[in-house]
């Protein structure tokens, strides 16, 4: 027994060492690509042709400048991505809270059925209705428009589900009762009492829906055709296109960096909330 305990004590050190090694290895795997990306974004096409070096070069500004003035409208892409993602995040969180609130704090006929229904549609991949979606958008003359990319976010079952879970543990009904006794209207109560209480959940989901909209490629690629309207992922995908006007690899790396690094920076600032938020949503998953 004593023997076993001693070996257990030693093995703690071994296990700790192993976990550190594995963690460092995995971190390396996660970060290495971004390091290479950064290095290569600073190098000219000629330098890139001469193999990889570990030290950054001096062409970052030049590459960025070339990229911004290439036939790929990266700046308008950035603007479009920001507009679509921000509007999506705002609509998605606001209305998901509203929907969750309806299910959470009211009692009405068919409530259970609706709840089950929403859970069921959570499983439907967006792509399977893409065909009908495009035809509908075409008929509504909303092709090359941001509306079909933003408005559907109002009905986001996953965000709704998260909000519902969060309400169950964090929204005391006594507060709502109190507001009612004060004579506040239901809608006023929702906006002035419920929403503020939901801020932590809204923040987390806003980030998620922003990021997933920012990264979305499939639907925008089907809806947006005019170069002025395109979002960053579409423009990135176009870097693969065979066009004789662009194949300066320095520019390609600069373009990728341009669409990745803003998100990384925001993430590093907010990482505490994001990592915590994933866990918070998961407990009930």
């Amino acid at each position: 027994m004593a023997n076993k305990k001693a070996s257990g004590g030693a093995s703690i050190h071994v296990r700790r060492a192993v976990s550190y090694i594995v963690l460092i290895l995995l971190s390396f795997l996660c970060l290495f690509w971004f390091y290479v990306l950064f290095i290569n974004a600073t190098r000219s096409n000629g330098e890139l042709g001469r193999g990889f070096t570990a030290i950054p070069s001096t062409h970052l500004i030049e590459n960025l400048n070339n990229m911004l003035h290439s036939s790929q409208p990266m700046l308008s892409g950035l603007r479009n991505s920001v507009i679509i993602s921000a509007c999506t995040a705002a609509l998605c969180t606001y209305f998901s809270v509203m929907t969750a609130y309806a299910i959470h704090s009211y009692d009405f006929k068919g409530k259970k059925a609706i709840f089950t229904f929403i859970l069921a549609i959570m499983m439907i991949p967006t792509q399977v209705s893409a065909l009908g979606f495009i035809r509908l958008i075409t008929k509504m003359h909303l092709m090359d428009n941001f509306i079909p990319l933003i408005i559907p976010a109002i009905a986001s079952p996953v965000t709704f589900f998260y909000m519902k879970q969060y309400m169950e543990s964090n929204l005391p009904s006594s507060l709502i009762e109190a507001a009612r006794i004060d004579g506040a209207g239901e809608f006023y109560t929702f906006n002035k009492v419920v929403l503020p209480l939901m801020v932590p959940a809204i923040a987390v989901q806003a980030i998620f829906s922003f990021v997933s909209s920012w990264n979305n490629y499939f639907t925008p690629a089907l809806v947006l055709h005019d170069d002025k309207m395109k979002t960053l992922p579409i423009l990135i995908a176009q870097l693969r296109a065979a066009d004789w006007l662009k194949f300066d690899m320095g520019q390609v790396y600069a373009a990728i960096a341009f669409s990745i690094f803003p998100v990384i920076i925001v993430y590093l600032i907010l990482s505490k909330y994001i990592v915590g938020g994933v866990a918070a949503g998961a407990v009930k998953g």
């Binding site: 003035h69 409208p73 603007r79 006023y188 296109a241 004789w244």
Partner: protein
């Protein structure tokens, strides 16, 4: 109650601001994108040449008073935008995607070629043409040879016959006939016009030719590459010295596919022409012997050979004038082009590659202006010469090319001072377009992709690769299934 209304008002405001989010995008122009020269126009001299200034005064922008105020032009890259900006008299650049001709606003609608997006977008726009408001109508669209027939089709009637615009055969008399065959409908009417004659040849490295064959002048090198057997023998010699004859098997694809004896699709069935099958066999031999590679054209790996000391040591590329001038990194240190190390010769078979045709959209509300743009950009001698001199395009004008060919002072720096125009003009006379079809683009693309599998050994046999090709082509063109 009051509060409730307030709240509803708030939401309403919120929703409208959301809508504005979506709507503003369409109105907000690309104000932040500064007018800038793109890679393609880097060689553009700052001062305009005399020819352009002269032509500016003689042909005035002829927008008739009662015609539309907005000219919508569908393009897939900024090549034509740059041509118009630099050469069309009276064009004022407002931004990268907007300009002005007199009081007419020019709207460039750029849709990249990737994944057929340009054609898909154009199809939608043309389908909506009849119902579109005058200022939303497409006025001009561009097409490439690979799919031109789809748009110049007499039944589809989406491109105006040039004669309906008042453009006569006499106006177009100096053009090469192949450029007209591309845009001729079943009734023999022309429905488009091009400023380029993209006959092409083999662009090889002088220094490598000297090292391996002991000769470097085009006439001598041509003897060594006069047909495909000679080409293969020469490739073997290059291999001995560590050079690949081309970076990729795909380099020669168009040389073979331009010299076919039948169309891609006959009686609703895909037919692989003998000459294309020959490309497969010849390429397989070269790939197996490691005398060429399998890179995709335009990939970074493929482009390595444009530089002096690449890993891939490439002897030649196959292409027209625009490849020489825009794609060979001639403005970069260490490139073969910068040192003037290339030379042009015809190669085993003549061919053409690329080219852009201007079509007037049926239903345009600016016919006079459209006519003037087509005439100026594709027939005006002074403008054509200006394009040839400044942009090194091989222009679609026999007289201008003749002038340039006999001009001993003219030489292309990238080609070490060689004057390529005589060869290009002769090549353009020989191009035969009788076997083009509306399926060319898809078939050419898919065939090369499928055969790459064969060359790399991922398809067990030619038949497997062919099956792969046929499978993919049927997805692209359901009517072939």
């Amino acid at each position: 109650m009051k509060k409730r209304w307030l709240a509803i008002g708030l939401t309403a405001a919120m929703i409208t601001s959301m809508a504005a989010c979506g709507g503003s995008s369409s109105t907000a122009s690309t104000a932040e994108s500064k007018p800038a020269e793109s890679a393609a126009t880097e060689s553009k001299p700052a001062a305009e040449s005399k020819a352009a200034t002269e032509s500016k005064t003689e042909s005035k922008p002829a927008a008739a008073g009662d015609e539309g105020k907005v000219l919508n032009v569908e393009v897939w890259n900024d090549e034509f935008i740059n041509r118009v900006t630099d050469h069309y008299p009276g064009y004022e650049k407002v931004s990268d995607t907007e300009g002005k001709i007199g009081d007419v606003k020019v709207n460039w609608i750029i849709t990249a070629n990737q994944d057929n997006a340009y054609q898909n977008n154009l199809d939608e726009a043309l389908a909506a043409q009849a119902d579109a408001a005058a200022d939303k109508k497409v006025d001009i669209f561009l097409v490439e040879a690979d799919y031109a027939l789809k748009y110049v089709d007499a039944d589809a009637d989406v491109a105006m016959p040039l004669k309906d615009l008042g453009i006569t055969d006499a106006d177009l008399s100096k053009q090469f006939s192949y450029t007209q065959d591309v845009v001729k409908d079943a009734n023999g009417d022309l429905r488009g016009s091009s400023w380029q004659a993209c006959s092409a040849g083999m662009i090889y490295r002088r220094d490598v030719a000297q090292e391996v064959f002991g000769v470097s002048e085009p006439a001598d090198v041509q003897e060594l590459f006069k047909d495909w057997d000679a080409y293969k023998a020469a490739a073997a010699k290059l291999k001995e010295k560590g050079y690949k004859v081309t970076a990729s098997a795909n380099d020669t694809y168009r040389v073979y596919s331009n010299n076919v004896s039948g169309k891609w699709v006959q009686d609703g069935k895909v037919v692989v022409d003998e000459n294309i099958k020959k490309w497969v066999d010849d390429s397989m031999e070269l790939v197996k012997a490691e005398e060429t590679g399998t890179f995709d054209l335009w990939s970074d790996d493929w482009a390595k050979g444009f530089f002096q000391d690449p890993d891939g040591k490439v002897f030649a590329y196959f292409g027209p004038a625009w490849l020489i001038n825009f794609s060979m990194h001639a403005d970069e240190d260490g490139s073969v082009g910068k040192a003037g190390g290339w030379a042009l010769t015809t190669g085993p078979q003549g061919f053409y590659w690329g080219g852009t045709w201007i079509c007037a959209a049926q239903g345009t509300d600016n016919p006079t202006l459209v006519k003037d743009i087509i005439l100026t950009m594709t027939t005006d001698d002074a403008v054509m010469k200006d394009i040839a001199v400044k942009d090194s395009d091989c222009v679609n004008n026999k007289d201008v090319l003749k002038d340039l060919a006999s001009d001993t002072s003219f030489g292309n720096a990238i080609l070490g001072g060689q004057n390529p125009y005589e060869m290009l003009a002769a090549g353009a006379e020989l191009v035969d377009m009788s076997n083009i079809s509306i399926y060319d683009q898809g078939c050419n693309e898919e065939f090369q992709k499928a055969m790459k599998n064969y060359f790399e050994g991922n398809a067990a046999s030619y038949e497997d690769a062919l099956a792969e090709f046929e499978k993919n082509i049927k997805v692209k063109y359901p009517e072939l299934a």
